[in-house]
């Protein structure tokens, strides 16, 4: 009786789930990746490397090691550096020995906190020389170029905003430079009945 209803193979094998899997690639893409979308997808399907973002500039390699080794043995960590200063600029690559560990990292470590910041991980086709440097105009990450919020752990203001703030500060400084003496304020007596100098309110009487 049963054999009258063969199950279609797609229904037996498709990967559909109601609850989305956390170990699937997101919309993250390296804009300087040379290769087709198919190549990108195929690279990600066997990669052992993760791009890690939203780090504090102060987070050390050792801290990264501690949290990322929770998903498997780490082969190496490559810190993201600002192009000009060669100081950490808030991202890194973590490379595991196996693809399975990279997926486990996506499932269990992505979205947890390190140094009070939610770390974001994405499957990455793999580190290539040069990718350790920020690509923003100021040497850091592009996202810090345009950031409008103040973020103490990522160098304060975004680069553009920092320049604006700097400019404001400069104008501010310039404007006040000319004023050598502190103004004493108007000595005009508002209420002549109180006499030339009114005593402090909470004393004397």
């Amino acid at each position: 009786m049963v054999s009258e209803y063969p199950v279609s193979s797609t229904l037996m094998e498709d990967a559909f789930t109601i609850v989305p899997r956390l170990d699937r690639p997101s919309t993250y893409k390296d804009h300087q990746y040379h290769g087709s979308t198919e190549q990108w997808d195929s690279d990600l399907s066997k990669t052992t490397t993760l791009y890690v973002g939203n780090l504090s500039f102060y987070t050390t390699e050792e801290q990264l090691y501690e949290i990322f080794s929770k998903a498997g043995e780490i082969k190496r960590i490559i810190m993201g550096l600002a192009r000009n200063t060669k100081t950490p600029c808030g991202f890194c690559f973590v490379e595991y020995y196996t693809h399975g560990n990279a997926l486990e990292c996506m499932k269990y470590v992505n979205g947890t906190k390190l140094d009070d910041r939610i770390i974001r991980t994405d499957l990455d086709p793999g580190f290539r020389e040069g990718r350790q440097f920020g690509r923003g105009r100021s040497g850091g990450q592009v996202r810090d170029e345009y950031r409008q919020e103040y973020d103490e752990a990522r160098g304060g203001w975004g680069h553009m905003r920092a320049k604006q703030e700097e400019e404001r500060q400069r104008q501010q400084d310039e404007s006040y430079e000319a004023i050598a003496t502190v103004p004493t304020g108007a000595e005009l007596q508002i209420n002549s009945r109180l006499g030339p100098s009114s005593p402090p309110r909470d004393s004397a009487y």
Partner: protein, 835 residues
């Protein structure tokens, strides 16, 4: 129809998706999207809906609505649930032909992913079958196909969940009692005469779980057959009890001995209680009982026999642990507690790939409970009134299941980190309630630390450090301040201290100190972890200082390996008063200290330093003694920074500068007696043995690939073969996939060599453990010995497969009459566990 579940608002219909929090149209404003937004995130039940790009067409829209109805039905045990189910079955019946694939696919995943709603989905399948037996046949056939697929894959959690579904299908008259019994027999037949093993335990566990849910129906339809299955289970359990007699190797808490070495004894007890009570399970709503008249006319479907997988290793079979009791619980509700925790556990296992949604679902499982079965703090007006002593408290049951999985021995189903990040999500979902529940659970475990298995103390410590670091490092340490009066090796003190050390690793010392009450400051190091460079200016003689300064200058100014070696050569050749060996040892120490100093800034620096000086280091590490000296220098250099020590050792093994056995020798050095309670020594042991195992596995993969390539005689000259032949110096860096055409004999010979090394590591480690545990000066005091014995148990059960593979040698050489009785007991327990 009322399908408003608790997630309804958040996940609800498609309309909300295109409007931001201010009600503005989101579409056409792509810059509003977060940079790395996940496609289809949070759209419950519909990967088929129209994405943010473009209008969903009508067919897709109906499909996504249909699947969302199936997903949401029965989220809550409301008075309208019966009507909802009926109405949904009418809708599905009507649209089935048009949207068959969507309906079947959604239904399939609902059974697998939402296991606590199994009664709802079995009823829905029954209603579909009653309305149209063709549809029913398709559903049943599909689910049976999935069951066979999961069996073949050895996914026992899914198998258990599916078998429960089939058990309930008997109650909807969709399959006959005889069909279910035949399915059960597939699991019980191989168990009938087989000796106790992890495979048998796994099958018996699934059979008992199925019987629990099928008992009531089988009692009516086939009482004699039911009794026979029950007897078969009991007979097996009798043999299993005898085989595991007295083994406490996998016991989590030693103060309250569990009813058996695994969950089965407790499961059997529950089964007996339920059997004595007319097989009535009243914890969750059973909607199929309300549709009795509709099911009478339904068609029953026959199913082909199940086939069990063959050739799986013992480690491929798992039996879940007995649920820990961490808060008091009313004894009269033991069955309800078991049934609910079993459903919680299945959900936790099945949704492992999305801890965030898993946490949300876990917290709504109570929605399907019958009235008054448990109290729910998250929905109660006065959650503080919930008293676990008088009623089952839902959130505590969730926490108990979570910690049961975390502490499961010999190992959990998933990585420890899953249970950590899941707990973080649970607390994020219900910040007030879950923070308190998890805190209570942890405190109750720690209060029993003295009788907690050593490995479990370590796991809980790892768990707590990451957990606390995710919530602003807030924790009530003052509650544990009394540990400062306990001796260094006291379990509770060790736990608190090691957790704080882990927190320092995840953050930095001052940050952690800021969160500690004055009374606990003595538990963290006074100074920031740093290196311990030997050749600082003060303490050495003149000529040593000269070498050190010259070498230091050379390395700092990026001198080459040759230059460094030459400096060593020139200086030490003048030391005519010391013999060759001593000179070599001095030069070795000098070089290693300086290379470590060069790389002491960060791990990257260290890797660079080691890579650069690899030829020199390999040349210096030419004998086992020399390798051991290098390892000792590393240990001494990183005395005050265990994390760096562990990682440096690890890298030296990777680069083959030292051997795994070197590390074993270093760890079991007599000088460590008195510090066996330190966690970091065992972290190094684990890393090392795991690495050896990983190398063997990689080589096995390579060998298979090479054999496959040799079989397929395809001449395909890709030209990019990297010509690296000598795998014996391979760090595991090498990817397992190799250019085609690798020499099979060559790989085979490396594999043989690696397997020899693996064996050596296991035998050597066991030998050291036994020596130390069997002599008086191997450990400093009773407490020290308890820790060492605990670590020995951990080692044996973790690597039980390798222990079993080398049992003969271990028995004749290590576990001799001279070995202390408790070590021999552990050995016997390990062999039973490995079967």
């Amino acid at each position: 129809m009322d399908f408003s579940g608790r997630l309804g608002g958040r996940y609800g219909g498609g309309a909300q998706r295109d409007v931001d929090e201010f009600g503005r149209e989101r579409r056409g404003r792509p810059h509003q999207r977060k940079p790395y937004e996940r496609p289809n995130r949070g759209f419950r039940g519909g990967a088929h809906g129209g994405g943010p790009m473009g209008q969903p067409d009508e067919g897709k829209d109906i499909e996504s609505r249909l699947s969302s109805l199936i997903v949401k039905v029965g989220d809550k045990n409301t008075p309208t649930l019966q009507n909802n189910l009926d109405a949904l079955s009418v809708v599905l019946e009507k649209d089935y032909a048009k949207h068959e694939a969507t309906v079947l696919r959604t239904f399939r995943q609902c059974v697998l992913e939402l296991p606590w709603k199994v009664t709802v989905y079995a009823t829905l399948a029954g209603l579909l079958n009653a309305k149209n037996s063709d549809t029913g046949a398709k559903v049943v056939t599909l689910m049976h196909g999935i069951l066979r697929r999961e069996l073949a894959a050895g996914d026992w959690s899914s198998v258990k969940v599916l078998m429960r579904f089939f058990a309930l299908l008997v109650g909807t008259n969709t399959i006959s009692a005889a069909t279910l019994l035949a399915m059960l027999d597939a699991f019980l037949a191989p168990v009938a005469s087989a000796p106790p093993s992890s495979q048998s335990r796994c099958y018996v566990h699934i059979a008992m779980s199925t019987l629990l849910w099928a008992g009531r129906l089988l009692k009516e339809a086939a009482p004699a057959e039911l009794d026979a299955r029950l007897r078969a289970v009991e007979q097996y359990m009798q043999r299993d009890r005898e085989a595991m007699q007295g083994s406490t190797l996998a016991t989590i808490f030693h103060d309250a001995p569990p009813k058996g070495p695994n969950a089965l004894a407790h499961q059997l007890e529950v089964l007996r209680t339920v059997a004595a009570n007319e097989w009535r399970i009243d914890a969750v709503f059973a909607p199929h009982e309300m549709f009795g008249t509709e099911f009478v006319q339904a068609t029953q479907h026959e199913l082909p026999a199940l086939e069990l997988p063959t050739g799986l290793p013992p480690s491929a079979f798992r039996t879940p642990p007995e649920f820990l009791q961490l808060v008091p619980s009313p004894a009269e509700h033991a069955v309800r507690r078991y049934v609910l925790q079993d459903l919680i556990a299945d959900t936790l296992s099945q949704l492992e790939y999305n801890r965030k949604d898993c946490a949300r679902y876990l917290l709504q499982i109570h929605g399907l409970c019958n009235e008054d079965v448990c109290s729910v703090m998250t929905t109660a007006q006065h959650p503080e009134d919930a008293d676990p002593e008088t009623s089952l408290v839902f959130e505590y049951m969730v926490a108990e299941v979570l910690f049961t999985f975390l502490l499961q021995l010999p190992e959990g189903r998933s990585r420890e980190m899953y249970y950590t990040s899941l707990a973080i999500e649970l607390r994020k979902a219900e910040p007030q309630i879950m923070a308190g529940v998890l805190e209570t659970a942890v405190e109750n475990i720690v209060a029993r630390a003295a009788s907690l298995d050593v490995e479990c103390i370590n796991r809980l410590s790892n768990w707590l450090a990451v957990y606390v670091s995710n919530f602003g490092f807030q924790w009530d340490w003052a509650k544990w301040e009394s540990v400062t009066e306990e001796p260094e090796g006291a379990p509770r003190r060790r736990f608190v201290q090691e957790t704080l050390l882990k927190l320092v690793r995840l953050s930095y010392l001052d940050r952690i100190k800021a969160h500690l009450p004055e009374s606990c400051l003595s538990l963290v190091p006074a100074k920031v972890p740093a290196h311990n460079f030997k050749f600082t200016v003060q303490a050495m003689d003149e000529r040593t200082r000269e070498v050190s300064v010259a070498l230091g200058k050379c390395l700092k100014s990026k001198g080459t390996v040759e230059q460094a070696m030459e400096i060593l050569q020139t200086h030490y050749s003048q030391w005519v008063d010391v013999d060759d060996d001593a000179r070599q040892a001095l030069a070795r120490e000098m070089l290693v200290e300086h290379v470590l100093l060069l790389g002491s800034k960060t791990f990257s620096h260290m890797l660079n330093a080691i890579e650069k000086f690899m030829p020199a280091l390999q040349q210096f590490g030419d004998t086992p003694e020399a390798k051991l000296q290098i390892a000792r220098v590393v240990e001494d250099f990183w005395l005050r920074n265990p994390q760096f020590c562990a990682i440096t050792i690890d890298k030296l093994v990777n680069y083959r500068i030292i051997d795994p056995v070197t590390v074993i020798e270093l760890l079991f050095d007599a000088s460590h007696a008195g510090s066996w309670s330190s966690f970091h020594l065992w972290e190094i042991l684990r890393n090392t043995v795991n690495k050896v195992d990983m190398r063997v596995v990689q080589l096995q993969t390579r060998l298979e690939a090479a054999r496959a390539a040799a079989d397929a005689i395809v001449v395909d000259d890709t030209g990019d073969a990297d010509g690296d032949g000598d795998g014996s110096t391979d760090a595991p860096e090498q990817p397992p996939s190799r250019p085609a055409g690798e020499n099979v004999e060559h790989v085979q010979s490396i594999l043989t060599q690696m397997e020899r090394e693996q064996k050596e590591v296991v035998v050597q480690t066991a030998r050291y453990f036994v020596q130390l545990l069997s002599s008086d000066d191997g450990t400093a005091d009773e407490m020290d010995r308890t820790w060492l014995l605990g670590r020995f148990k951990e080692f044996m059960r973790t690597y039980r497969a390798q222990v079993a593979a080398n049992a003969a040698e271990l028995e004749s050489q290590v576990f001799t009459a001279a070995a202390s009785p408790d070590t021999r007991e552990v050995f016997a327990g390990t062999r039973a566990l490995a079967a």
